[in-house]
Symmetry: C2
Subunit: 281 residues, 2 copies
Amino acid sequence: MAQPNPHNTYLPGYKEVGHHEWRTAENSAPYLLPTLQSLAETNPSLTLLDVGAGSGTITTSLAKYIPQGHITAIDLSPDILSRAASHAASVNATNITFQPASVYELAQTFGPAAFDVVHAHQVLCHLDAPVQALAQMLAVVKPGGVVAVREIDMRVWSFHPFSETMRAWVEVQKATHAAAGGSNEAGPSLVAWAMRAGARREDVKASMGTWLYATEEERRVWGTSFRDRIVGGEMRKKALELGIATEAELDRMGEEWQRWMETEDACCGTLHGEILIRKPK
Amino acid sequence: MAQPNPHNTYLPGYKEVGHHEWRTAENSAPYLLPTLQSLAETNPSLTLLDVGAGSGTITTSLAKYIPQGHITAIDLSPDILSRAASHAASVNATNITFQPASVYELAQTFGPAAFDVVHAHQVLCHLDAPVQALAQMLAVVKPGGVVAVREIDMRVWSFHPFSETMRAWVEVQKATHAAAGGSNEAGPSLVAWAMRAGARREDVKASMGTWLYATEEERRVWGTSFRDRIVGGEMRKKALELGIATEAELDRMGEEWQRWMETEDACCGTLHGEILIRKPK
């Protein structure tokens, strides 16, 4: 039976994805790697479902760890999947199938217990029914398999230098994210969500991870993305619609991100909740 | 010449240290371990200075990685060092010398270029002259050696469940920490502090790490510590002196920590800045 289907679009609507392509299994899914390697030792031809694969850099990076395994990478957007497929071809990752699909319809799309590992990175934080999505992920993982999820705590930004303008930017980031149906508290909520999706506490292993933008290259990639979203992107439009900042204030935030990325000792860190759910045999 | 000596006491004045003894090299200095192992391969008898070693659990844990090396562990408090020495004896860590000393007087205590590695965990955040402390650490490390520092961003707490009472607790935590001369922004300031202490940007490698309290045991150890500090410890006394919370409000925070630690899906994460400074040869 079809699941009810809440928001079935990727709401942030980013047009540029340079900052997404910075992502790898090593910087975005390190908590999964020891488990993945251990599963692959027992079963080299394991199957992995990558939910919300986006531009596919985490997917191709995961593929390296299971050269004899197979990854099914899904996303709502055929456009981003075709970009991901080009990326996969460019790095000779041949063990990935790309397929448009919704996380809310995993069970009907793939059938129960179809994968050894089901992975999502920064997906549930965009959904207005994350528990329902997690229940679908649990439904398609095999008994003895693992669901792995990592999501940001959008309330938490660790900046240097910090300023009132950056504080205001964090508020805009949170308000526009929430207005688009996302959760600002996804990271630390993952254990609670997993239990509401049917997992037992003893089958959930929680950890936290970080992203840090500190090198000149990282500051450029991420600073440009944050600057562009606030001076001309969807986020600016939404902030103005919500009436939470003026044009002038948003311009100042863009200038602040520009200054930040040009500052040699600047950094910005984010905090991410991580869970590994072992499905009982 | 003696350095000027700002605050030369450990101001938080915690009486119980159970939560300190939870700390290990693996959960509190993972960013240092690959470098430490690589240095030990070239020079098995390397020397490490552990600054602000406290109850010594990180120290003994680091000692396992350099069995042929030697650690000098310093702290301001002879009492805590004697506890640390007992702990070291109990785990048969025989390659550690414990010695009372101040981070502000490292050069005069040990002479220049005395150690291959100089490490501090959650020390600079308590000091009112962290750059001066870092300059001393750089002074006593050998050319080609490494200074390793990890410090919390005290503004950033990732809770589930979250509440207005927890938000108020974070404000009390920050205000009492700052009133004691500490920095709430130590974590993301480390690169900037390193450069002010004389390091070149290209010799500083920044990363971030986390602590997560999520298992029943972790919630008990840390929840008890946070509860006790707010219902009866130094933090309560300071909060009342500062006039930032009433007795009733502080009691409610204690009750909230009690509830939090009894909540099966609760967690609390913190974010820590980390730097490795390679001293040029």
